[in-house]
């Protein structure tokens, strides 16, 4: 399974991505989470200690004069698989988390790490892991190809007008010839029975699952805990488990 979560800021991508990764890992599958948000957050939803650690600068070398290609690349002899082994952090349920580091100052400080992250994403051994990607809010990264590793893109949508406007734009990822095989909506924080129908009508996307507004999940977020640890029996975590089952069925040949 290779999925990427996209959506408007605050829609709940990280909480859902973190929960999905943990649920999938509990079925005994190897899961690698790739976090391309320069702001912290996903680690907490996964139940990992928050860390700024990304890919160290010495994992990369700078392009020599006259050479083609990106300015930085993984140092000679360091494959994507080896880089994951070295730099992805292990957490609960043996989920691995790879991130390009977190921003505290100008983005230039993460330049080497970002280049390495790109290369790793492009050269990932796709059969080794189930991949769960969490992109930052908005359209920038999705339309610059940051979700191209994914066969399924999940657009997390709050059933508000603003949420649907963002989702309509993100739905155009499906028009791209390098776009995902499937692009689906996940309705989040649903409070009304007709939310899924409204989102389908408003975005043109099929709704894979509707996650209800869930006070237990909101409480987990307030406490900085992973939903699956703080509220394993909540309706929201149950909805994510349904999504995992659905994706697993869809991923069968």
């Amino acid at each position: 399974m290779r999925v990427a979560f996209v959506g408007k800021g605050g829609a709940g991508k990280s909480a859902l991505a973190g929960t999905l990764a943990r649920v999938l890992a509990r079925t005994g599958e190897p899961v690698l989470v790739i976090d391309s948000d320069p702001m912290p957050g996903l680690a907490l939803s996964l139940g990992f200690p928050a860390t700024d650690a990304g890919i160290p600068d010495d994992a990369t070398v700078e392009r020599a004069d006259g050479e083609d290609g990106p300015r930085y690349r993984l140092r000679p002899g360091l494959s994507a698989a080896k880089a994951i082994e070295l730099y992805a952090v292990a957490g609960p349920d043996d989920v691995r988390l790879l991130q390009f580091g977190k921003l505290r100052e100008h983005v230039g400080s993460l330049m080497r790490s970002q280049h390495a992250f790109h290369q790793i994403r492009e050269e990932l051994p796709v059969d080794r892991w189930h991949l769960v990607g969490d992109l930052p809010g908005g359209t920038r990264q999705p339309f610059f190809g940051w979700a191209q590793f994914a066969t399924v893109v999940l657009v997390v949508v709050e059933p508000s007008e603003k949420g649907m406007l963002s989702a309509r734009r993100l739905a155009r990822l499906g028009d791209d010839e390098d776009g995902p095989a499937q692009i689906l909506a996940v309705v989040n924080k649903s409070r009304h029975r007709d939310d899924a129908a409204r989102v389908e009508a408003g975005t043109g996307l099929r709704v894979a699952v509707t996650v209800p507004w869930d006070e237990a999940l909101a409480d987990a977020e307030r406490r900085g805990l992973a939903p699956i640890d703080a509220a394993p029996d909540s309706a929201a975590v149950g909805a994510v488990a349904c999504l995992v089952t659905q994706l697993q069925a869809g991923a069968q040949p």
Binding site: S14, M39, E105, V107, P159, K162, R222, R223
Partner: protein, 119 residues
């Protein structure tokens, strides 16, 4: 002039000197949000951008406010209470000020506007 920047601190770190007079950092009483807000406050302070105001949003009770005041000691903090009217306005796609001008959150924002630009 009022600018609504992208989430995170990327735009903030690229602002030119003197581009803004006041930075409003909107923070919810959840660790993820407070961590990003702390980074934004540090980045704004490092650039020496004018007045910094922490807008504590979706505050439900004293414990929520306490979490934010603890995370931002010594900062000017303005509270916007958790308010179902804002959720409903968003759902309908209308401006909260038009739909529910008397709602507590809208009142708090009106007070903030007057605080920033006294009438």
């Amino acid at each position: 002039m009022v600018a609504d920047l992208e989430a995170g601190i990327g735009t903030l770190t690229r602002l030119a000197d003197g581009a803004v007079d006041i930075v409003l950092i909107v923070v919810e009483p959840v660790p993820k949000s407070m961590e990003v807000g702390t980074r934004a406050a540090a980045a704004a302070a490092a650039k020496g951008i004018g007045r910094l105001v922490i807008v504590a949003n979706r505050v439900r009770d004293a414990a929520d406010l306490d979490a934010i005041t603890t995370a931002f000691p010594g900062h000017e903090i303005v509270v916007v209470p958790d308010d179902g009217a804002i959720v409903e306005a968003d759902r309908r796609g209308v401006a909260p000020l038009d739909m529910a001008p008397q709602a507590p959150a809208v009142q708090a924002l009106s007070a903030l506007a007057e605080r920033l630009v006294p009438v």
